[in-house]
């Protein structure tokens, strides 16, 4: 047997495609799938949340107990509760209990937590003096309850966490971040959700107090916020202030709400 050596010209054992191209193709493909799954599950969450019994929501609310454990129990907090109780009589769902907690914190913010709990930080109370203005904030948070925005946010956060844990692993940094935001106080809502809550608040205020002066005053502060920058915290978790102001002004004009005068 004669052996004649020959050079091998092409390597058949390796793929001659660019690995970088492969990498980006795979990455973007998987990313697209995750986004689609997240979107579909998000829609399912909206459907499920609308049917979630109040008892379940109250059970969920206990998870967030740490946020209002150290709530103040002084005259100011009782005054807040009084304002809320007055607003709640006009709440569409009957037999729901709402509690407002005043928590010592520099943050200029108020948060709606599952289970009908509203947390107002003392930072916000310092900025907002008039009762009507704080009523508007409370009514706005009630609007989130009426639309179940906080539960939608929670459900989506949970989906994000599950997806991240599934794809990237439980001890991944992205998963940890998703887990943190799940428990985070500052749940972000979309512009549409904020606007809907604003409109709900306007209607509720007009019904209960016969005036939306508080909303006008509060929005006046929003307009002046560039100069002061004091309410910036509130808008970091309640975005799109300019558009909201405009929508509120349009709505007041359209429905002919009373912007002056005292309470009923």
């Amino acid at each position: 047997m004669k052996y004649s050596p020959r050079k091998i010209k092409t390597n058949v054992n390796i793929s001659h495609t660019s690995p970088a191209k492969d990498f980006f193709l795979l990455l973007s493909g998987i990313f697209c799938v995750i986004i689609i799954v997240y979107f579909i599950l998000g829609l399912l969450v909206n459907v499920a949340v609308a049917r979630l019994p109040v008892q379940v929501e109250e059970g969920l609310g206990r998870v967030f107990k740490q946020f209002y454990e150290n709530a103040k129990n002084d005259e100011e907090s009782r005054k807040l509760q009084g304002l809320l109780d007055k607003l709640v009589t006009g709440f569409p769902e009957e037999g729901r209990a709402f509690r407002v907690y005043l928590v010592e914190n520099e943050m200029v913010n108020a948060v709606a937590l599952p289970g009908g709990n509203i947390v107002v930080f003392t930072g916000l109370m310092k900025e907002v003096e008039a009762e009507e203005e704080i009523s508007f904030v409370l009514a706005h948070e009630l609007g989130h309850f009426a639309n179940r925005d906080h539960l939608k946010g929670l459900g989506r956060g949970l989906i994000l966490w599950v997806l991240s844990a599934g794809f990237l692993g439980y001890d991944n940094s992205v998963t940890a971040l998703a887990g943190q935001s799940l428990m985070g106080v500052q749940m972000k809502f979309s512009q549409a959700q904020e606007t809907k809550a604003d409109l709900f608040a306007l209607e509720l205020m007009s019904e209960q107090f016969g005036t939306v002066a508080g909303a006008v005053a509060f929005m006046g502060k929003i307009s002046a916020k560039e100069g002061k920058g004091m309410l910036a915290y509130y808008f970091s978790s309640h975005p799109h202030p300019e558009k909201r102001v405009k929508v509120i002004q349009d709505e007041i004009r359209l429905k002919g709400y009373n912007t002056k005068g005292s309470k009923k």
């Binding site: 047997m1 052996y3 390796i14 998987i30």
Partner: protein, 150 residues
């Protein structure tokens, strides 16, 4: 976030360093393969010239360990999700086998033919066969070298 940046840096370093190392390795492999082109290696056991008197026969072997880089590992991880050919590992295995065969030839430098070539591959290192760690691949090539009397 900082962990994500760290990951991107690792992937970038893995890609650049891995590509450079691979190119250089292939260059060296081809050069040495040409050098040993005359020394035939076969998988048959009795493909030698039975008429020629044999000076000596001996076992020759060569082994090589090649490590995977971070970019290849991530790419293979992504591939694990959707399935299909793991192309990023192909060059790794190819390089290890050819390098091992070359080293075996280098050991049998004075031989006329190497019979009964066998190549085996295994994962190696602390992290072999463990998830989320960088592994290496070892290839060992061995055969029987025959040198004729001149």
């Amino acid at each position: 976030m900082d962990q994500l940046i760290f990951l991107i840096i690792l992937v970038g370093v893995g890609y650049t360093a891995g590509t450079i190392a691979e190119k250089r390795h292939y260059k060296s492999i081809e050069k040495r393969e040409n050098k040993f082109l005359k020394l035939s290696v076969v998988t048959l056991k009795d493909a030698f010239d039975k008429e020629s008197p044999i000076l000596r026969t001996r076992l020759v072997q060569g082994s090589a360990v090649i490590s995977i880089d971070y970019f290849k590992r991530i790419l293979a991880g992504l591939r694990n999700i959707v399935g299909g050919e793991v192309k990023s590992y192909e060059t790794l295995v190819d390089r290890a086998r050819r390098e091992a065969t070359l080293r075996m030839k280098e050991m049998a430098w004075d031989a006329d033919i190497i019979l009964n070539l066998r190549i085996e591959t295994s994962a190696i290192g602390n992290s072999a066969n463990r998830k989320k760690t960088i592994g290496s691949i070892e290839a060992i090539a061995y055969g029987t070298a025959i040198t004729y009397k001149k």
